[in-house]
């Protein structure tokens, strides 16, 4: 008779199979339908960028980028090995929310991530203003960054980081057949415990970020991004 507990637990699984006529649960996003095919083809493992994509996939990517009405980001959540293709959905006071075909989103201020949604250990908010200023001005500076996460009981958990930026050099970066000389900026952030993480940004002379590797929290780790156009 010990099957009682087993059955009860199996019911968790079975409930998921329950079906019905509730159309509210269905979802569609025609917005990104075209992007999804390209997104699925991208198999980005580490910071290799669009240049690592070869053959037909590279052609499709080029065609997709050419057709895209606005900017396009490509990249990956590195630790989760999750490829990203992002298009802008909405702009609010300088913050642009970029959405991917799988209906997750990343919000950025001038290319600096301020929030993620739908990746699991999301950063609810990450103050991007100091970094955005420092990177676009390409000057060594220091500032505070606060980040907020949600705990398992929806409680807000925050951390404040002390950050500095420095320019470490100029790197050639090739993105979709275009090679640019980009200024390489490293942001170092330290928490109260003394641990340090580094994020990297590659910017052009106007201060626009074309490539970055940003640390966005203890759960998600690093996100690598390239702006394709």
């Amino acid at each position: 008779m010990n099957w009682r507990a087993s059955i009860s637990l199996a019911l968790v699984a079975a409930l998921l199979l329950s079906c019905g006529s509730n159309k509210l649960d269905k979802d569609s996003s025609p917005l990104m339908a075209g992007v999804s095919q390209v997104g699925q083809m991208l198999k980005i493992r580490k910071a290799g960028g669009a240049d690592a994509i070869k053959g037909d996939a590279a052609k499709q990517l080029q065609q997709f980028v050419a057709k895209a009405p606005g900017q396009v980001y490509m990249g990956a959540v590195e630790e989760a090995q999750l490829p990203l293709v992002l298009q802008p959905a909405e702009t609010n006071d300088g913050y642009v929310t970029w959405v991917s075909p799988d209906k997750r989103s990343i919000t950025m201020l001038s290319g600096v991530i301020s929030a993620t949604r739908g990746y699991g250990g999301d950063v609810l908010s990450y103050d991007a203003r100091g970094t955005a200023n420092a990177v676009s001005n390409r000057q060594a500076t220091s500032y505070k960054r606060t980040m907020r996460f949600l705990g398992p009981q929806y409680e807000l958990k925050g951390a404040t980081l002390s950050c500095t930026t420095e320019t470490v050099g100029t790197d050639p970066v090739k993105i979709v057949d275009t090679e640019r000389q980009l200024i390489h900026i490293v942001e170092s952030c330290t928490d109260q415990g003394g641990g340090t993480i580094k994020s990297e940004y590659w910017v052009d002379n106007s201060g626009a970020i074309w490539q970055s590797r940003q640390w966005i929290g203890p759960q998600l780790g690093y996100i690598f991004l390239q702006r394709l156009k």
Binding site: N2, R148, Y154, G194
Partner: protein
């Protein structure tokens, strides 16, 4: 470098007391479902809020243990004990439920000499086969070895007695009640043991148990304890699953399996559901050039309504009605997806910014519960625009959100097209435990339930459910009820013989009779055993933690098989008081007349976590005596609700209710009518929105 920050950030961001600290070695769980060795307990405690389900079996003995760590120092266990070949004959198994409480008196000082000390009551009814009391100390040496020594009474004192320091142990108390006069009485004996961590996966266990298994051996000959020494291993499959094997009492090999869950430690961290629709900010030119998503322009309220319904639909939210009055828009929504109610409000507000004309500045969102609005949440559109990306946006929006009583009445013109009448249906599995089945408390039916719902007009709902058994044994019970009370529940086996069966078929009307008042009238086949009319009024101010409800029903008992009724009818009903404490404890008292015509009260206590986990217990005492009630003495139950969203990391309002115990005799039986008001209405009131407030911008 990365890892250092990772760790220190986790402690900063998810600080002490938030998540279970799995780094620290979790104690071995014994075969009674509590920290210990094999049969013997230890002085250790699991992580607070740990919920474990464990099975253990050796010889003819089987135990199903459900444990919950109520506070850091207080733990509880509910257990089904099962003894095979107990009596001669085909139906030879014996069952007994038991409830334990254990309290940690002293915490271990890992640096110094102080051990962890626990006092425990096993089967605290005091009259059961498993009844035992203990005082036990555990000390760890290094990070591999723990050593335990204790004193046991009851069944833990049945060999090598040290005497009876507190006198003889009385016998013959009422089963199902607490017989505290037996605690720590009778023979006391010493026990002890040790666990050794061989590696991350394997713990070696040895113990000395003074439990002589007297009842099992001498009483029924089902198990013989030949030696007091037990040896075993515990194997850990990740942090959630434990498997055990042991050689018990020099006579039998046994096995155990335990699953450990914790509401604070979801399998998927955070939400992997779809991202919200981003806020669309109005700019200077918006007033002249506003278009709907997709580029069309709208001129009429109906066009805005249609566009908003389509946009909300993509987020899994239904639009009941929309009315725009100058700068104020009132949207009534049906949230069928988000278990964190604040998330549904936050998403609705964001979608509203993408559709509604720029002149609209005030958003009033009224979530529907049972076809009537449950609350009115008022937000400023400019706050939504300004705070979406503010670093402190969550804290800020929650201080600016206003919750008030819902508006009453329906304006037909405001309704979304084709919303009424509307038919919906669902099919899913069910499990039904034969509640009052004395000779087999573990009887259960498993099958499929087809339910249908017809939303006729605002407030009016017709619904029905049919269930078909696939397998089960509730109906096969040989015992006919001998209850001297009207058989309002004890004929469950007779009802269960009919399959498929019409469980309910009702017409319900929900209405708002006044400010902060909610009403319901339900007629028809209200539940499997009763039909009639049920009426309810609830007073629940949106910003308060209390509520008062009154329910009056006139019901007649249904036929076992057909659609007709038996002769028995009764007026039943309750006055209910509800209070939600800040620490997540909800208390409800229902006082009144029960189905058998008995008068009394039900106390319902639940610990509810913000993410939807709920551990609930209830007990009913009425003027029916324990003797008249029969086995179990009075109605009581224990339930755990596990939200599916917690397991999946995706929003869904589905919950897996795990009924651990439900003693349902004829005394103290409440009508089981669907659509009771409190739970649904309360979901959208101030406190619930505050508890889920972190999810507003999710």
């Amino acid at each position: 470098m990365k890892n250092i920050l990772r760790l220190s950030l986790i402690s900063l961001a998810f600080g002490a007391g938030i998540g279970p600290s799995w780094a620290q070695d979790a104690p071995v769980i014994n075969w009674y479902g509590v920290p210990g060795m094999l049969d013997m307990p230890s002085g250790l405690m699991p992580t607070v809020s740990d919920f474990s389900v464990g099975l253990a079996t050796f010889g003819n003995i089987r135990r199903t243990n459900f444990s919950f760590q109520i506070t850091e120092r207080l733990g509880g266990t509910f257990r089904y004990g099962n003894w095979g070949e107990w009596v001669p004959g085909p139906s030879n198994e014996y069952f007994q439920r038991s409830l334990d409480l254990r309290y940690q008196l002293i915490r271990e000082d890992t640096e110094g000499w102080k051990p962890a000390v626990v006092v425990g009551l096993q089967d605290l009814g005091g009259t059961g086969i498993n009844s035992a009391e203990y005082l036990v100390a555990t000390k760890s040496f290094g990070d591999r070895l723990t050593v335990t020594a204790g004193l046991g009474w009851g069944r833990f004192g049945t060999s090598n007695s040290l005497g009876q320091p507190l006198g003889e142990r009385p016998t013959g108390g009422t089963v199902g009640t607490i017989n505290a006069d037996t605690w720590f009485r009778g023979d006391v004996a010493a026990f002890g043991g040790a666990t050794f961590k061989l590696n991350d996966k394997i713990r070696l266990i040895a113990e000395y148990s003074p439990d002589a298994y007297v009842e099992e051996d001498i009483g029924h000959g089902v198990f013989e304890a030949k030696s007091p020494y037990n040896f075993g291993v515990e194997y850990r499959l990740g942090k959630r699953v434990r498997l055990g094997a042991a050689y018990m009492y020099g006579s039998e090999f046994g096995f155990s399996a335990t699953v450990l869950l914790n509401p604070n430690d979801p399998p998927v961290f955070g939400s992997i559901g779809n991202a919200p629709t981003p806020v669309r900010r109005r700019d200077a030119s918006a007033a002249s050039s506003w278009t709907l998503p997709g580029g069309k322009t709208a001129n009429t309220e109906a066009e805005y309504r249609q566009a908003l319904a389509a946009a909300l639909g993509r987020d899994g939210i239904g639009l009941e009605s929309l009315s725009i009055d100058g700068s104020r828009a009132l949207a009534r929504i049906r949230n069928g997806r988000y278990d964190a109610e604040a998330q549904a409000i936050g998403r609705t507000a964001r979608v509203m910014t993408t559709v509604l004309p720029p002149s609209v500045e005030v958003f009033v969102i009224e979530p529907m519960a049972n076809n009537q609005p449950a609350a009115a949440i008022t937000l400023k559109r400019s706050d939504i625009e300004a705070l979406e990306n503010a670093p402190d946006g969550t804290e800020a929006i929650l201080t600016r959100l206003d919750v008030s009583a819902p508006s009453r009445g329906v304006v037909k013109e405001d309704l979304t097209n084709n919303l009424y009448p509307r038919f919906s249906w669902g099919i899913g599995p069910y499990i039904d435990f034969g509640l009052a089945n004395i000779d087999n408390p573990l009887s259960a039916d498993f099958g499929l339930r087809l339910s249908a719902r017809y939303d006729i007009a605002p407030g009016w709902v017709a619904s029905a459910a049919v269930s078909g058994r696939i397998l089960g044994n509730v109906a096969s019970s040989s015992a006919l009820s001998l209850s001297t009370l009207p058989h309002v529940r004890s004929d469950g086996g007779l009802y269960a013989r009919k399959t498929p069966a019409l469980e309910n078929a009702t017409l319900a009307y929900y209405f708002l009779p006044g400010n902060d008042l909610y009403g319901r009238v339900t007629v028809g086949y209200l539940e499997r055993m009763f039909g009639g009319i049920s009426t309810e009024v609830l007073w629940k101010p949106v910003d308060q933690q209390y509520a008062v409800g009154l329910e009056v029903d006139y019901v007649q008992q249904r036929d076992f098989e057909g659609m007709g009724f038996q002769d028995y009818s009764v007026v039943t009903g309750h006055l209910s008081g509800y209070y939600t404490f800040d620490n997540g404890y909800n208390v409800a008292v229902h006082a009144g007349r029960y189905l058998a015509g008995d008068w009394g009260a039900t106390l319902d206590v639940a610990k509810e976590f913000n993410n939807g986990w709920k551990i609930a217990a209830y007990a009913t005492l009425t003027d029916v005596s324990f003797a008249e009630y029969g086995y179990g003495a009075f109605n009581k139950g224990l339930r755990v609700d596990i939200p599916i969203s917690w397991a999946l990391g995706k929003p869904t309002r589905k919950v897996n209710p795990l009924t651990l115990m439900s003693m349902g005799g004829d005394g103290g039986a409440r009508l089981n009518v669907g659509g009771r008001l409190y739970d649904e209405v309360d979901d959208y009131h101030a406190q619930s929105l505050e508890e889920t407030g972190g999810m507003f911008w999710r």
